[in-house]
């Protein structure tokens, strides 16, 4: 199981500019698997991404837009991406600000399918 998770994360971290990827239990923000560059605090990333996802879920469901499948937080020096895997886990990525988001999104959705 760990190998399957790790292979999925590796496919995402190969995208140029990705500094780390992790699988997070969507409801509680606990780390299931991670592949992070040194200096990135996995637990903090997981908790923050889960919290953001939860907040947006409430807004999105109230607006009848359904569950958020993909979240993109853009900041001046980097970005945080989160994709909801069919299993209910969140695939979270921390990356450089100028990354090819389209490619990262594609790989994240594929990785999400792979760990379903």
């Amino acid at each position: 199981m760990t190998t399957k998770f790790q292979a999925a994360l590796d496919s995402v971290t190969r995208v140029r500019g990705v500094r780390g990827a992790m699988l997070v239990a969507g409801d509680d923000g606990l780390v299931v698997a991670e592949s992070l560059m040194e200096g990135i605090r996995g637990n903090a990333v997981a908790a923050l991404a889960a919290s953001l996802a939860k907040r947006f879920r409430r807004a999105s469901e109230t607006a009848a837009y359904g569950l958020p499948q993909f979240i993109h937080l853009q900041a001046s020096q980097g970005l945080l991406l989160a994709a909801l895997a069919p299993s209910g886990m969140l695939l979270v990525v921390v990356a450089e600000a100028d990354i090819n988001v389209g490619l990262a999104r594609l790989e994240m959705l594929r990785a999400g399918e792979a760990v379903a």
Binding site: K54, T62, P68, Q74, A75
Partner: protein, 267 residues
């Protein structure tokens, strides 16, 4: 600085990884020094990210500061770490009551009482919520009709998919309707309260610089959130037929209109 705060601060200075941050943060919170308490709690959580009492402390601090939704998120984290945490159930009971979700409030308060049957404040809170629940079932819901400023006139979806909100979750302008028609502006605005702080906190802890915007792709539509000024959040909502790239362009145009309107309000 009182003696206990001084002693706890000294102990924490000697050992920044000490669990004494919980007692120090609580002492500062009780004294109303919320900024200092939040700093202590966040620094402590960096050392102990899985400490339920640390997240509970931070939740109580942000609740005292008026951000109940953010506090609820923290209490949810506490329950993930410790499902029987009385403080978290009590806090979520309070947050649910604030949101008007009386069923959830009752459930959490009953779990809080089961975890700590001696807590009289929970008994009192349960009494209040049960009374409110009885009252709610005997009164038909009132429907309010609200006139809001036409800040986004000329933009597509100005009154049903563009919402300007203040940091406390109150609607400033615009409107938001769920697919099918009902006005959900007030409810969504409340959920968005604190998102900017959450985004700022995320960006800071991850060394990402200043946050610019957040986009969420839902099953049936997209949400785009930005901060046209430090005192306002702008939500753009569109169905899935609008590509995410175009959403960003629309959001930039709406943000410019919002900025002009906000500036005019301060003149």
């Amino acid at each position: 600085m009182t003696d206990d705060v001084r002693a706890l601060s000294a102990e924490l200075a000697r050992d920044p990884g000490s669990l004494v941050f919980v007692a120090l943060g609580e002492a500062l919170r009780v004294r109303g020094q919320l900024d200092a308490a939040a700093k202590v709690a966040l620094a402590g959580l960096e050392h102990h990210p899985n400490l339920a009492d640390g997240h509970d402390l931070y939740a109580r601090i942000v609740a005292d500061a008026g951000d109940v939704e953010r506090a609820a998120d923290e209490w949810s984290i506490v329950l993930a770490l410790d499902p029987r945490h009385a403080g978290a159930h009590k806090g979520l009971g309070f947050a649910s009551f604030q949101r008007g979700d009386l069923d959830a409030a009752l459930e959490h308060l009953e779990l809080a009482l089961a975890a700590d049957p001696t807590d009289q404040s929970v008994v009192q809170a349960l009494h209040t919520v049960r009374r409110a629940a009885q009252h709610a079932t005997s009164q038909p819901a009132a429907v309010a009709s609200v006139e809001r400023p036409a800040v986004f006139a000329g933009l597509e979806g100005a009154d049903r998919g563009l919402l300007l909100v203040d940091p406390q979750g109150r609607v400033l302008a615009g409107g938001l309707r769920a697919q099918g028609g009902p006005d959900v502006a007030e409810e969504v605005a409340a959920y968005l309260a604190g998102v900017s702080q959450e985004a700022e906190r995320s960006a800071r802890l991850l060394d990402l610089g200043e946050w610019r915007w957040i986009m969420a792709e839902g099953e049936h539509g997209h949400l785009h959130l930005s901060a046209p000024s430090p005192s306002a959040l702008l939500l753009l909502a569109r169905d899935k037929s609008i590509p995410s790239g175009r959403l960003a362009i629309l959001a930039a145009r709406a943000a410019e209109m919002a900025r002009r309107w906000l500036e005019a309000q301060t003149l």
